[in-house]
Amino acid sequence: MSAGAMQKDRSAQEGTKGPLVEIEGLRRVFDLSRPWLNRMIEGGGRVTLTAVDSVDFTIREGETYALVGESGSGKSTIAKMMVGLLPPSAGSVKIGGADMWNARDAGAIRAMRRQIQMIFQDPFASLNPRWRVRAIIEEPIKAFGLIPDGRDRIERVGELLSLVGLDPRDGQKFPHEFSGGQRQRIAIARALASNPRFIVCDEPTSALDVSVQAQVLNLLRDLQDRLGLTYLFISHNLAVVRHVATRVGVLYLGRLVEEAPARELFSSPQHPYTKMLLDAVPDIEMAGVERQAIAGEIPNPVNPPPGCHFHPRCPQAMAHCARDIPPVHLVGSARVRCHLFADR
């Protein structure tokens, strides 16, 4: 294992390059109301769910930005809006300076599309079972018309397969002939096929076993070092995030409650929710250590608590937490949405 050779200080990469992705005031509201006629006859008003609420962050070139949060926190909704699968209700997603959801930038975005790719959670669902691996990986190359010549394309597919640690001859096989980890490698090869700059990884290792998870995480880091990729890494597993991220954003019910460089977030978390999350993760290093379990569960996002969404579970909640939405405060290099830091 060439651990030493590949090891490098990831935090040193920060701040060396300009922003690639800029998210501003991003908001997404889903309408869960029953049909109009039912509302008229049976009564009851509109029901909406704010999945993502005024989220801002930037991702610099070559960085891995991780979004963490429990189910219902809006992680995947943000990812979908970033790759162009779901229009936001408000706010903007700028990638390479072009606004994804602004018609004036349509031309620039079409050119940008090639540079944005996505890796999904379940490698059993994200690969077409009736296509050979070669066709799966070839698809983006064809779709963007990158390599017109068929033979060159096959050669490129072979290269991509070797890049992710598979045999070029594996292109002849079907997805069912591979294990979960190998399938995720195929999904990565497909994402790399269009020479992207930015890859959104939505829980890329949650469906994998630990020993295979380590292989895929190491591969993603290795590819980033070699190809200068920028990642948005979505995960609910904090230990995994700690190993890949340069910056981390913590989501709670659609709001970004804390954002900080990875090292700081894990060594000195500021927001009470971040502290609670870090404390709740079962860790093999904690064998035999008793600890306090936290109270409560994530409330229903359809009617979240007013003010700070976290206040009913917060051990440090104050009277106005239930009333006022906390603004973003700067604490060191972290941005924290919490009233505790108001007077600093």
Binding site: M1, D9, G180, D209, V212, A214, F266, E285, G288
Partner: protein, 352 residues
């Protein structure tokens, strides 16, 4: 010596398929002492859940117990008739499954499900059963238990549903609780609560627990001992701290190093085990782990290792048995010794 609550000896589970008979569990033996929490870990397909199903007699056909013995408090339960087994399940062995939504009937009120289960196992009046049910719900931490008694499963959140399932599993005061991935479907913050609850309730009642999970973190914080499975075979079994901190089987070693943790250097590359676990139809000859093992030598490829004492644990690896594998090359032994594997004294002598 006290009789173990559960004793599994040389268990063998086979699944006949069109392409031949697959051996899902091969020669697995372990004990669970009264009041003990035994963690069962392994990757998907290692046979954790099948072991659980075999114990409670709910193997999915065509799977079958093809050999070995399962004893509950000294009595054999693997050869009971389905009718007798039904009386063991629920009353003497409680079960908690991964998805609380599928283990509760969505059409019945929570309270009715509890009362029904209590009345199946105990001779009580409906009124007394209801009182007991409410008390159980309070014990598992459901607020306003009396009012929620008549609620339906969909009116509960995931964590609350799993609490109800725990109440159902414990309502007949079983000697053994088999919890199969009880927290996998839950969020981290809720997971910690459920684990603490399960641990406390079983400790109060003196019930033994077999905790099946793929999450080593959960095991590390909950179990007293841990049993690591690989391709349907026992790799290592021992006290949880020893297995986590000083693993003695090369597979366990690789597994522990591959788990990302919240301490240590985040920039270090994670250790990885090359390849993946073999499918049941393609388990290599000799030790099942040999193609992925850093320490494999000739004997490992031809002969299957037994279970040998290794420090405070037991491991199925020839590194711990100079008698069974006299041909172990000195450089392999030296490398193993350097990496913290406790060699037998004879082997230690040969390399020094």
């Amino acid at each position: 010596m006290t009789t173990p609550t559960l004793s599994v000896r040389n268990l063998r589970v086979e699944i006949p398929t069109r392409r031949g008979v697959l051996t899902a569990i091969d020669d697995l033996s372990f004990d669970i002492a009264p009041g003990e929490v035994l963690g069962m870990v392994g990757e998907s397909g290692a046979g954790k859940s099948i072991t659980g199903s075999a114990i409670i007699g709910l193997l999915e056909p065509p799977g079958r117990v093809a050999g070995g013995e399962i004893r509950l408090a000294g009595e054999r339960i693997d050869n009971l008739s389905p009718d007798q087994m039904r009386r063991v399940r629920g009353r003497r062995i409680g079960m908690i499954f991964q998805d609380p939504l599928t283990s509760l009937n969505p059409l019945y009120r929570i309270g009715d499900q509890l009362v029904e289960t209590i009345l199946t196992h105990e001779r009580l009046s409906t009124k007394a059963a209801r009182a007991k049910g409410i008390k159980l719900l309070e014990e598992v931490g459901i607020p306003a238990a009396e009012a929620r008694f008549s609620a339906y499963p969909h009116q509960f959140s995931g964590g609350m549903r799993q609490r109800v399932v725990i109440a159902l599993a414990l309502c007949a005061d079983p000697e053994l609780v088999i919890a199969d991935e009880p927290t996998t479907a839950l969020d981290v913050s809720v997971q910690a609560q459920i684990i603490a609850l399960l641990k406390r309730l079983c400790a109060d009642r003196g019930a033994s627990v077999m905790l099946i999970t793929h999450d080593m973190g959960v095991i590390a914080e909950t179990a007293d001992r841990v049993c690591v499975l690989y391709a349907g075979r026992l790799a290592e079994i021992g006290p949880v701290r020893a297995v986590v901190k000083h693993p003695q089987h090369p597979y366990t070693k690789g597994l522990m190093a591959a788990i990302p943790t919240l301490v240590g250097d985040p920039d270090a590359t994670l250790a990885q085990i090359p390849g993946s676990m073999p499918r049941l139809g393609a388990i290599p000859a000799g030790c099942a782990f040999n193609p992925r093992c850093d320490y494999a030598f000739e004997t490992c490829r031809t002969k299957r290792p037994g279970i040998y004492g290794a420090g405070t644990s037991d491991a199925s690896c020839f590194l711990h048995s100079p008698a069974d594998a006299p041909s172990a090359p000195a450089e392999v032994l030296r490398a193993a010794d350097r990496s913290g594997i406790v060699l037998a004294s004879e082997a230690k002598e040969t390399i020094t």
